[in-house]
């Protein structure tokens, strides 16, 4: 799925972004299967951009096109085309780690129980599956959110500072899991971060300013 951002400017940022920006009020094309890095210092609209791409924000000028068309059915897009790991993770308190993953997977039936178990083992959270997420550390919750994002046949994966609370070993494991899923789905990735990184082999690097 090709993503086009045509002259997009979020209302709260109009007049506030600098001429160095490569996204706001520009024509940007993100091709199928590309890995895109968005360098976004604090306050430049990193989460706003991902919110626009995930249909959470409608307060912007310009056009967002998926395969030349304006997106309409966001529920379908969120179960078929675009998956996301939020900066705030957005896990449901009161549910266990496994239930949080299951809540997404029962909607898409994308992964088998064995595959979910396998991913939890790979990310070292298998022992935590029956614990309520509010009792987990941020790093553990981040890994649960990553596994949950894998539970659909996405064409694009949006990552908002996905490894901010992970150590090197867990980051490496998470990257492996994500790469494998990108490969399996022939999908693209947009990773937004506060600084430059080499987590993936990016085809495009864009700056938000």
């Amino acid at each position: 799925m090709k993503i086009q951002l045509k002259n997009i400017a979020p209302h709260p940022l109009i007049g506030a972004f600098s001429s160095l920006t490569q996204i706001w009020e520009k024509d940007v094309v993100l091709n199928t299967g590309e890995k895109v890095h968005v360098l976004a210092p604090s306050g430049t609209g990193k989460s706003t951009l991902l919110g626009i791409l995930y249909g959470l924000r409608k307060d912007f000028n310009g056009d967002l096109l998926f395969n030349q068309k304006s997106p309409s059915d966001w529920s379908e897009i969120r179960t078929q085309s675009i998956s996301i790991v939020f900066q705030e993770l957005e896990l449901l308190n009161g549910l266990t780690a496994l239930e949080n993953i299951q809540l997404k997977n029962q909607l898409t039936a994308h992964l088998t129980d064995a595959e979910i178990h396998d991913l939890m083992v790979k990310l070292g959270v298998e022992d935590l599956k029956n614990k309520c997420v509010e009792f987990l550390s941020r790093g553990e919750r981040q890994r649960i959110a990553i596994i949950r994002a894998m539970c659909m046949p996405f064409e694009w994966l949006l990552l908002d500072e996905p490894f901010s609370a992970l150590d090197e070993q867990n980051t490496k494991a998470a990257i492996e899991v994500i790469n494998a899923m990108l490969e399996r789905n022939k999908a693209g990735l947009i990773l937004a971060n506060l600084k430059n990184d080499d987590f993936f082999e990016y085809q495009q690097k864009l700056v938000l300013a």
Binding site: Y54, L56, S75, E76, I77, R78, T79, I84, F86, E90, L92, G94, L95, L98, E99, Q102, L103, K104, Q106, L107, T108, D113, I116, R148, M152
Partner: protein, 391 residues
């Protein structure tokens, strides 16, 4: 892996007592409304006797006879002005004038002589078979319709007191009475045969053209006195009608208005019950919708997260409506059982009192289903509106 129920997730923390009270309120309102309908049908069938097939009630009235009437200060007859006034009342559909004979009638039957009287009224006011109720000039035998009340008095009071057996209707129709109609030395000899019986009119009816002929022949005039009227009314239990009768000192023959009065009072009681039932229903629907609304608001964060994961607001509403549907099904089942038992009880009472037959109306069972559908629609609409506003 076991599925996580979205509705369970969203109704977490919803008090069981609140749900029970809402359900109870809904059940009660359903029962009240259905029972009111059933009672209405029962009463209609039990009290139907006061109404004719055409949906109107026919009431015979006369003027109250007081001392003034006896002294000749006022007349017991209706003047044409009074008849016009009665006709002009909006609650009176039509008026039939019961015309009387202006001559003396002597009857003789089986050796007994007695005085008689005749009245006539337009055919449309007579509730008897009119097949043989015709008279042609020159015809000696006059067809007569008598009141069923007369027959009852004859068979159950007069004849037993004389040690004679009662006479069936068939036998009465076979007998002829010799008549002598006289006035001022003029005389007409006729015969009379009973051809029908009336519940509505307490009199002896003869064809109008015969009475006109006899009055003309014997007293020289056809415009005879009108001492009784038959009123065709839609609602005899209406206040306006009763007040009109009382104000003019008009007396009602028979007890029909009493029945209608009772029916009127019962209708009011049922009306009050119905309003009460509807009030409880509206309150429980509002309470039910409010509880679902509250659940949505309390779980707004959860719903937001479900929407983020790709759950459509439509699916979320559907899962909540499904819960409402299941709850309503249980309430409906209990309501049906309750209605069945209530009907059995009422039916038993009516049977014991031997006041008539009652049938379980399908409307009684249709009402709870209808009310449930309305509630379900209300819940669905409230939630959809809320979802559209929130997400």
């Amino acid at each position: 892996m076991e599925r996580i129920s979205v509705s369970k997730l969203l109704l977490q923390g919803r008090g069981k007592s609140k749900f029970f009270l809402t359900g109870l309120g809904f059940l009660l309102s359903m029962l009240i409304i259905s029972v009111v309908f059933q009672l209405y049908f029962d009463l209609s069938s039990l009290l139907k006797t006061s109404e004719s097939d055409d949906g109107f009630t026919y009431i015979q009235i006369s003027k109250e006879v007081g001392v003034g009437t006896t002294l000749g200060l006022s007349s017991a007859n209706f003047s044409s002005k009074e008849i016009e006034e009665i006709k002009s009342q909006e609650f009176i559909e039509d008026v039939g004038e019961l015309l009387s004979n202006d001559f003396r009638v002597y009857g003789r039957f089986a050796g007994n002589a007695f005085d008689m009287f005749f009245t006539s009224v337009e055919d449309e006011f007579i509730d008897a078979d009119l097949k043989n109720f015709h008279w042609e000039p020159g015809q000696v035998e006059i067809p007569v319709i008598i009141s069923n009340q007369f027959l009852t008095i004859l068979n159950h009071a007069v004849l037993p007191s004389q040690g004679q057996p009662p006479i069936p209707k068939v036998a009465i129709k076979q007998a002829t009475v010799d008549l002598a109609l006289t006035k001022d030395g003029k005389r007409l000899i006729q015969k009379a045969r009973v051809v029908g019986f009336s519940d509505r009119i307490s009199s002896v009816l003869v064809p109008k053209n015969f009475l006109d002929f006899a009055n003309q022949k014997l007293s020289g005039k056809t415009a005879t006195r009108v001492s009784m009227l038959i009123l065709k009314v839609k609602d005899p239990s209406s206040n306006a009608f009763q007040t009109f009768l009382d104000r003019n000192d008009y007396e009602v023959t028979g007890e029909l208005p009493l029945l209608d009065n009772a029916k009127g009072i019962l209708k009011i009681v049922l009306g009050v019950l119905l309003v009460f039932g509807i009030l409880i229903l509206v309150l429980s629907i509002a309470l039910n919708s409010a509880q679902f609304k509250l659940s949505v608001l309390q779980n707004k964060e959860k719903i937001r997260m479900l929407v983020l994961l790709g759950y459509s607001p439509k699916t979320i509403v559907a899962s909540l409506v499904k819960v409402a549907l299941m709850n309503l099904s249980v309430i409906l089942l209990v309501a049906f059982l309750g209605l069945w038992f209530i009907f059995q009880f009422v039916h038993g009472v009516i049977e014991n009192l031997k006041i008539g037959e009652t049938e379980l109306s399908f409307v009684t069972f249709l009402m709870p289903i209808l009310l449930s559908l309305v509630t379900l629609y209300g819940v669905n609409r409230t939630l959809k509106k809320l979802m559209n506003l929130s997400f």
